[in-house]
Symmetry: C2
Subunit: 225 residues, 2 copies
Amino acid sequence: MRASDRAYQALRADIIEWRLGPGTVLGEVEQSARLGISRTPLREALSRLTAEGLTAPQPGRGVIVSEVTLEKITGLFDVRISLDCTAAALAAAHPDQRTFQQLTRRFESASSLIRESDGCQHEYYELVAELDAAIDEAAANPYLLQAQRQLRTHLSRVRRLAQDDVARLTASAAEHAQIARSIAQANADLAVASTKVHLHNSLQYLLAARANSNARITREEVPNG
Amino acid sequence: MRASDRAYQALRADIIEWRLGPGTVLGEVEQSARLGISRTPLREALSRLTAEGLTAPQPGRGVIVSEVTLEKITGLFDVRISLDCTAAALAAAHPDQRTFQQLTRRFESASSLIRESDGCQHEYYELVAELDAAIDEAAANPYLLQAQRQLRTHLSRVRRLAQDDVARLTASAAEHAQIARSIAQANADLAVASTKVHLHNSLQYLLAARANSNARITREEVPNG
DNA sequence: GGAGCGTCTTCTGTATACAAACAACGACGA
DNA sequence: TCGTCGTTGTTTGTATACAGAAGACGCTCC
């Protein structure tokens, strides 16, 4: 694998998993030394990150990790609803029935999988990613795919701000099952409606989590101030 | 301005204006020599173009200009309808009334501007770009803007395949006026409907142009074959 | 004491040299 | 005659050196 690819993936993971917080200055010399490569492949990695919007060029100070706050999450979901509904409608037009029927069953039985242990949530997120991939493939639209990919990058970043709990994941599994079922039945209207419902609930959950988080922060920080 | 920026803009223009056709191999040495720069800034330019989708890495032979045919235009418009309608709805939620009222009037009087001479169509396209920019600003959604920008790059490329005629531009002006008016009135539903109508008509026109073009090509090429 | 200017340091942007990989072409053997 | 292997040439990927620019710091003058 190319050094620039390794640098890109390493930096991308560091940013998405909040090891590099917003505002962090990514000096070329510093980062290339940290990753054990020279500046040339590192610059290519930074270019790709900047194109994705994970980093932004700072006028006189290289590139910095871009800001992503829960404040921006509504805007993110406005676009996500638009694209995911389009993808669901396109997928429902030419679905691979067997694939989506299987996904429906797996989501229906996922509730037990979620409850088993907290560590297994990783498997659930992979199942969600599989559904996304199946929808992408069925939609068969490279322009849509490109837009979705960038959006999901930002989403995976904000998702870390609010950990899902078991109750939400269980509800989420039922919503995903409904989406998969609608597509398997080639019912575009229902697929769009299911997607809207799911994303609405996801956003509401995240906004509620933000409210709780803010309240907690306020309680913790005011005594110190 | 940086050499990499100049290279990016030069190559981008060359691709969009079809001076570099799809499938063209962009060798690093060759292109850097042509643009009078070294390979390093050229590689950065190619990275940006690849991220945009204008070029694609060829497994063993560098990057090539990506294919864009009228066949793919339906897929392009599926995404465009989705994003433009979202943008129109968001803009209608917080419109700068004065701006959109002015744009409405300019589109209403644009029909005469279109007829005056063929060269002035450039001004009309700039007016359309102004409306797009105004909607972008009113929508105030960086994620939407990012997705739109990439989509418009591809659109400007396929638009060259079918030159608009005066009749279509006149109808287009009326449709744009309707969109601007709807947003000025803060009527989100109407703004979405107007946008859908406009994009539907634009797509129909392009598809009809493709049919004509294919027919013409068939007539011209069959005698030679 | 504050503001402005100059110098110094450090960073990015660019060029170029080198190495590794891939493809094409030719020669040899079956 | 066809297939395979080796060689060669071109290409990309990487490292490094150099130049230019921008910011920081300190000094001096008002």
